[in-house]
Amino acid sequence: MSTPLASTNLAIDVQGLNKSFGDKHVVKDFSIQVPRGRITGFLGPNGSGKTTTLRMLCGLLTPDSGTGKCLGFDIVTQSDLIKLHVGYMTQKFSLYDDLTIEENLMFMARVHGLDRRQERVKDALDRLGLYERRKQLAGKLSGGWKQRMALAATTLHEPDLLLLDEPTAGVDPQARRQFWDEIHALSAAGLTVLVSTHYMDEAERCHDIAYIAYGKLMARGTANQILTKVGLVTWQGEGPGVDRLSPEIAKLPGVEAAAPFGLTLHVSGVDAQALDAALQPYRHAPFTWTRTQPTLEDAFIHLMGQSEDNYR
């Protein structure tokens, strides 16, 4: 079949997207390519424009400028087609509180014009362990169950691309884990997933990462690629009270970030020599310092600092 769907192996391919609300420039010159079949984590601090970007990708917001395709369909002119093939799960729960789980799913099945609706709804209920609760009102469910139901509703029409906006925010760790298992299962079945989050451990569960800060895409690639590209040197300090040194150390030249990790302190910078020099005064008892692998979080703190500089 020669639909636009099959003509490319990029699920998302957009260039130069811009979006402002009033005089607030929320998304700036955003370009991204997302290959099919992968789970891409969309990271960034609150208010950095993740939700706005996802909404532009599925036609819920019109970009001020920029072009691009989602599943081969133009994001501005073909949003009707995009809606048929994309499953978008909103950040804020947006299904009907006064309908039961089953009624919500049936609504989605109908509104997508699906066939074998009873069967599909039952399958989805079974798959996500919702069958026992199918007669419960959505508004009465706890956060974790709501998210599962939302995922069921988003995947009911067998979309090719899932856009998940902070799907696990405010959900307990066990439910988060199950949710991610489900996402991986969907990915294994061939779906492309773009999932926004600000949990670092979730970033590591993604195949790919896109990091956005203040509306600008700052880094792109696998976790390792990003770490290599950022090229951080990180020292880990241990010893009583070391974590309390962070404000003091953070101000030193050559130090880009000093962040407490539990009782230890991570100090990072791109210039290894300058960093060494900065830490010299602290290399004495009771502190011990060891070179360590920078974590993604270190890298993101660094990237955020950079984008703040750009922002000014």
Binding site: D80, Y88, D97, L99, M106, R110
Partner: protein, 382 residues
């Protein structure tokens, strides 16, 4: 590809929205109560005013004749129990001011030559001015006053004069209905009430049903589905058409059973008129909801629409008695045309062949409002 999505599945999409709305409606007890209680309560309130013949209405008198005959005529008025003499005016101006200020319902003038004319058989007159803004309040009293001359003075008149009474009453009560020259009858109110109740509840309910989605955030999901604006609109309005028909039935049955409002026929005009009017009101509610950002705004806009619907439609004041500018506005309001249909069909038994212009007007309203709603309906969150 083996997907089951088709682009021509619009009936299913409409069904989706319709079924969802319907279930939500049944879950919302308050709305349920409103749907049934508003017509019942309103009709009972108004209907009570119709059936009730208010007595002891405040009356001002200007008696320019101090004869015994004038006094006993006055007593006869009081004896009907409809008139309570609360003010005695000293001049025409004073009397007029009392009526104008709404201090009294009636102003009664017995002219200076009253008894002289009766004695000479010259056709004496009494002037009864009624504040007829509320016709249901004055109707019965005016009827009672009209029956007075035949008996009021029977025992006051000496033999020869008394013998004349059956042929021609000794005096005549001239009634001036002020502020409502058409003197709309009480029956007119019930059909009018049908229009007012339907627009009040239907406009508001649909206006709320869309803004509620925006406020609760469910609009984001709805917009992310393939449902088209017109499908959302039809699906959302359809359950409320049933609601409107239910309300209409309740009102008509109650009017007929409790208040003996005549149902003279004209069913074709009535049914089509009711359907068009319900659709128009719902479409207007939908249009409001595309403009309003919150449920509160939607509520306020619905109320704003109700004002001219009540005041300028001919429900409250006779349409032909209104100034030209008010009539022009009135023509643009669907209640105006609906009232013509309902009064024409229910009270006079007219059918489509005479009432069709009102149906055309209602149809035009439906089309314009739907088109505007589709233009205004936001397909994105921008």
């Amino acid at each position: 590809m083996s997907r089951a999505v088709t682009h021509d599945s619009w009936p299913t999409r409409i069904l989706a929205v319709l079924a969802k709305e319907f279930v939500q409606l049944t879950r919302d007890r308050l709305t349920y109560a409103m749907i049934l209680m508003i017509p019942v309560v309103q009709l009972l309130l108004f209907g009570y005013a119709i059936n009730n013949e208010p007595r002891h209405l405040p009356t001002a008198v200007l008696v320019q004749d101090s004869s015994a005959m004038a006094r006993s005529t006055l007593a006869a008025f009081v004896n009907t129990q409809f008139f309570d003499i609360t003010h005695e005016a000293g001049s025409v101006e004073e009397l007029d001011a009392l009526l104008r200020g709404g201090r009294v319902q009636f102003a009664l003038t017995i002219p200076g030559d009253f008894s002289r004319r009766i004695a000479r058989g010259e056709g004496a007159q009494i002037l009864l001015e009624a504040d007829a803004t509320d016709p249901s309040a004055t109707g019965a009293a005016v009827n009672a006053a009209a029956g007075l001359p035949a008996k009021a003075l029977n025992h006051d008149l000496p033999g020869g004069l008394a013998a004349r009474t059956p042929q021609s009453p000794p005096f005549e009560v001239v009634v001036h209905r002020r502020y409502n020259p058409e003197g709309i009858t009480a029956y007119n109110i019930v059909p009018g009430l049908l229009g007012v109740i339907l627009s009040m509840t239907l406009v508001m309910m649909t206006a709320l049903s869309v803004t509620r989605e925006t406020e609760r955030g469910t609009m984001e999901s709805l917009l992310a589905t393939p449902a088209q604006p017109i499908e959302v609109m039809i699906g959302k309005l359809a359950p409320y058409v049933m609601v409107g028909l239910l309300q209409t039935t309740v009102i008509l049955v109650m009017s007929s059973v409790l208040f003996q409002v005549p149902m003279a026929g004209g069913w074709d005009a009535l049914v089509l008129g009711v359907l068009l009017f319900i659709t128009g009101s719902l479409a207007l509610g939908f249009l409001i909801s595309t403009v309003a950002r919150t449920q509160l705004q939607a509520m306020q806009m619905s109320f704003f629409y109700m004002l001219p619907s009540i005041l300028l439609s001919g429900f409250m004041f006779p349409f032909r008695g209104m100034p030209e500018w008010a009539q022009t506005i009135g023509q643009a309001i669907p209640v105006t045309h609906f009232l013509r249909v309902v009064r024409g069909s229910l009270l006079k038994g007219e059918g489509l062949e005479t009432l069709w212009p009102s149906h055309v007007a209602l149809g035009i309203f439906v089309c314009i409002v739907t088109a505007l709603a589709m233009l205004r309906y936001r397909r994105t969150l921008d």
